[in-house]
């Protein structure tokens, strides 16, 4: 092929990559919801667990603290911030303790008699009104007069205040300057609920930005600081730390790779050509995922490119085996059986994740399988015509020759394989530690200091428990609200006995229709109320007729239809009730959030006696889910391991050769598992993926070692290829292993250990006899 033809082909390929990149970029929707990487639910209960973990009121709640300045300034800022956030579309509701009556829209004011519990234990008769008016007179000569006076004509029984107090959280922090403060009286506290799900870092980031901006303009004193805590804040933090560190390590690894490749091949054109299959593979993988699932998760993107980094090895095999007298196309043809076996078996291993039941893993699987296949095929068919003939021959290297001879004199301790397998199995079987990490949060652990800060804020604010939750199932909203009322009565006993600090549920804000109708029926008619009021006003300094607005409100309340969930749209109650009363598939679910649960057993007893009420232990349930999921993934991996053996057997057509090729990989997997376990590392999903990656690499090394021909120059070329491949992979993953983040470290340590172990074992067990 002439120089010009090569240039044209190169330009066409680069053009195709650019075009594919443009198409992919235009259609690519990157998702960030971490739940994509959580197990997919099988039962309605599991679905609820996952929904609660990511979307429940507790997961959406952010706890805010404003401190660092004077308490007065903090209180003023709290008020201004609450007002700003109430208008911000990122937030469903905000609470700072201010029981201002403005929380209630004017058109719903008359509903106060149906919503507040007053009429459950008293009647609006002369004696009650008389008592109330006497209290109001005392209020008017107390310092609270200024605050209450404007309300008296409309609400002499202060029903609205009663309602506002009913709606305050069960266990409130102390009020200073009208807003919540911590016990020390230094930090103003707020609770907000985001519209975004807790595990959607992108949307949480937007909410966090809105929050910061609102705080900046609300703060009355530059020394004030805002602290934000909660699942959403953590997911933003962890995503950004992961991203930041991955980028930094990735840049370092790329620089290292370039240097390594330049040293190995001393050719700039080869360096550039080596990138083409990988770039094509990545884009093809992305395109495939886009077509299959519409969105590509950020983790698939980041992690997928790490996994198909293996594809960088394919051109290297080609380059290392290239020498003066050889047509690159013939070279590719000769290498192809070995290379294809490696590609096919790695693809089979990753195919296991397609059936894992985890949507994110299925995406990852599609991405990797398509990517690796494309990399293999382009290396075989498109790359060879571009490779300049001639160039440096790795077979000429004296150093490699000496190395090969030194290796030849190494023993071939077949007993070593058996011994290693035995020791590894012993470690795995006899160690008392649990092998697996079941916590969902274990994948992205939040720094200890932040968890403690969160727990402290949660205690101060009396925020709901993120672990336990009651779930009430019902045919319709009223059914659920009625049951919530029944459960609430029993929970009150737990609160009285100290087993529980408090709880929250939808019926607290929106009593069932039956209760509202009962209260409405208890309202006196206009004439009767007028008489009672006249009797009560007589003998007080209140002017007759002063309470006309009160009479009008009661009269209006008597004809109001009971308030239902649909009537709350656009009111501040909508968010409160909406988070606790959910409609799904023509089926209603009510949630009871719990605060300060001290006695789970007592709660379990109460719940056990209630039909259609479940105590959800999110931690336990999610751990069960993860464990179940892992079992499924392990089964998938087992099936793919069998397939993989079949492929290798078919390709090599010899039991002995297949055994030699597979032994290092299988042993390495055992050794790495044992080493990790022995070092006290609990294994998670990412370790599993990394093990598969390491196994795929090991298989490649073994295949090429096994293939090494008798001719010394060709042996040196093979050694060169395997050395460059393993060194470059080791470099990348050793860097990842230094990461401070558990996910990156898990992958880095596992693959780096796997590469070393695979190389050494392939050397000791797979290398062909060199006695000749």
């Amino acid at each position: 092929m002439s120089h010009w033809q090569r240039m044209w082909l190169f330009a066409a390929w680069v053009g195709a990559i650019v075009a594919l990149g443009w198409v992919v970029e235009r259609n690519l929707v990157v998702g960030t919801d971490l739940r994509l990487f959580m197990p997919s639910p099988r039962t309605p209960e599991e679905r609820l667990v996952l929904e609660e973990i990511g979307e429940g009121p507790a997961s959406r709640m952010l706890l805010l603290a404003i401190g660092g300045g004077s308490p007065e300034a903090a209180a003023d800022t709290s008020q201004a911030l609450a007002a700003a956030l109430a208008e911000d579309p990122h937030f469903r509701w905000v609470a700072n303790g201010d029981s201002g009556t403005n929380v209630f829209p004017d058109e719903l004011l008359a509903y106060r008699y149906l919503l507040a519990p007053t009429l459950d234990h008293t009647a609006l008769d002369a004696s009650y009104l008389s008592d109330q008016l006497r209290e109001r007179l005392r209020d008017l000569s107390s310092p609270a007069a200024g605050m209450l006076e404007p309300w008296l004509p409309r609400d002499p029984t202060l029903e609205l205040l009663e309602l506002a107090e009913t709606w305050q959280p069960a266990r409130q922090p102390q009020l200073l300057n009208d807003v919540w403060f911590d016990g020390a009286g230094e930090q103003a506290l707020l609770a907000v609920e985001t519209v975004a799900a807790g595990f959607d870092p992108q949307a949480q980031r937007e909410a966090a930005d809105g929050l910061r901006a609102a705080f900046e303009s609300a703060r009355t004193d530059p020394s004030l600081q805002l602290t934000v805590s909660g699942p959403g804040a953590f997911s933003v933090l962890m995503k950004e730390r992961t991203q930041g560190e991955a980028q930094w390590l990735g840049a370092l690894a790329t620089a290292g790779m370039v240097i390594l490749l330049l040293v190995a091949y001393r050719s700039l054109p080869l360096l550039v050509l080596g990138l083409l299959p990988l770039a094509t593979a990545g884009l093809a993988g992305l395109a495939a995922v886009s077509v299959v699932s519409g969105t590509v998760h950020g983790i698939t993107l980041a992690f997928g490119f790490t996994l198909i980094g293996v594809a960088q090895d394919y051109p290297m095999h080609l380059f290392s085996h290239q020498h003066g007298g050889l047509d690159p196309r013939a070279n590719a043809r000769a290498l192809w059986p070995t290379l294809a076996t490696g590609v096919a078996s790695t693809c089979i291993a990753y195919l296991a994740f397609l059936f894992s039941g985890v949507r994110g893993l299925a995406q990852l699987s599609v991405f990797t399988v398509v990517g690796l296949a494309v990399a293999g095929l382009t290396t075989r068919f498109m790359l060879p015509p571009l490779i300049p003939a001639g160039g440096r021959d790795a077979g000429d290297s004296l150093m490699l020759g000496q190395l090969w001879h030194r290796m030849a004199s190494l023993p071939r301790p077949l007993w070593l394989g058996v011994a290693i397998a035995a020791v590894s199995l012993a470690v795995l079987v006899f160690s008392p530690r649990p092998l697996w990490q079941d916590e969902l949060g274990g994948l992205t652990p939040v720094p200890r200091a932040l968890i403690e800060q969160d727990a402290a804020l949660r205690r101060e604010l009396g925020a709901p428990d993120v672990r336990h939750l009651l779930v009430i199932e019902g045919a319709d909203a009223q059914d659920v609200l009625e049951r919530a009322g029944t459960v609430a009565a029993q929970l009150d006993e737990l609160v009285a006995s100290g087993a529980l600090a408090g709880y929250d549920h939808a019926a607290r804000y929106l009593p069932p229709v039956s209760v509202q109708e009962r209260r409405r029926a208890a309202l006196p008619d206009n004439r009767e109320l007028q008489q009672s009021l006249d009797a009560a006003v007589a003998g007080t300094p209140f002017r007759p007729g002063l309470f006309a607005p009160f009479l009008a409100d009661v009269e209006r309340a008597r004809s109001l239809p009971a308030l239902g969930p649909q009537d709350l749209a656009g009111t501040p109650l909508e968010a409160r009730v909406g988070g606790l009363l959910l409609q799904r598939d023509g089926h209603w679910t009510g949630l009871v959030t719990l605060t300060g649960l001290a006695d789970v057993a007592a709660l379990r007893r109460i719940v056990g006696a209630q039909p259609d009420v479940t105590l959800l232990d999110l931690k336990q349930a999610s751990e069960d889910l993860v464990a179940h999921q892992r079992l499924r993934i392990l089964w998938c991996l087992a099936v793919s391991a069998v397939l993989l053996v079949a492929v290798v057997l078919f390709a090599l057509r010899s039991l002995v050769r297949a055994q030699r090729v597979l032994a290092p990989m299988a042993l390495t997997t055992l050794v790495v598992l044992a080493v990790l376990h022995g070092a006290g590392v609990s294994l998670n999903l990412f370790h599993l993926i990394a093990l598969v990656l390491a196994a795929g690499l090991g298989l490649d090394y073994a295949l090429f070692f096994e293939r090494a021909a008798d001719e010394p120059a060709e042996q040196r070329r093979t050694l060169h290829a395997v050395l460059v491949c393993s060194l470059s992979t080791l470099l990348v993953f050793a860097l990842l292993a230094t990461s401070s983040l558990p996910v990156l470290r898990a992958i880095g340590v596992t693959v780096a250990a796997g590469v070393v172990c695979n190389f050494v074992l392939a050397l000791l067990l797979t290398r062909p006899r060199l006695d000749s």
């Binding site: 209180a75 209290e135 005392r138 107390s142 310092p143 009020l175 009208d178």
Partner: protein, 157 residues
């Protein structure tokens, strides 16, 4: 019409204790007010919502101590006397307070203060009669005019 006592506690709290005709205790500490009355839940709110207390807090202590500088800091002061009778008008300087409290007027005679009147912008007023031990000497009927003239004359008893 309630009777009781005021106490300045060592920790800086001002306690307004009503003893008759019912019992009620208002505790003012820092910016926070708590009103507790027998038979009902304590009510907590900030000083901002109780302008008369703010006025009292700012003026009372300073006047007792004769601390004119502190008083000047919070109020514009105007005073007049005729014979032994005198009165001091205190108009709040801060906009925030003035929106809730129009004026504090202290009436006195010779070397004692008789009344402290807190006037709100809407015309309402709270009158505190100071040091009345004998309730039979109170004005009657208890209306603004009678109270006013009582406050001016009281020292002549």
């Amino acid at each position: 019409m309630v009777a009781g006592e005021l106490e300045h506690r060592d920790d800086g709290a001002l306690i307004r204790r009503v003893q008759q005709p019912y019992r009620e205790t208002t505790t003012l500490l820092g910016e926070n007010v708590t009103v507790e009355r027998d038979g009902s839940r304590p009510r907590r709110f900030s000083l901002d919502r109780a302008p008369e207390l703010r006025g009292m807090l700012n003026s009372f202590g300073a006047m007792l101590k004769g601390d004119r500088a502190t008083l000047e800091q919070h109020f514009e002061i105007a005073s007049s006397e005729s014979g032994n009778a005198w009165h001091i008008d205190l108009v709040p300087r801060g906009d925030r307070l003035r929106a809730r409290l129009a004026r504090v007027r202290v009436d006195g005679h010779a070397n004692r203060a008789n009344c402290m009147t807190m006037e709100e912008p809407d015309g309402d007023a709270t009158v505190m009669l100071i040091g009345v031990a004998d309730r039979t000497k109170l004005p009657s009927p208890m209306e603004r005019e009678q109270l006013q003239s009582w406050c001016v004359r009281a020292g002549a008893r």
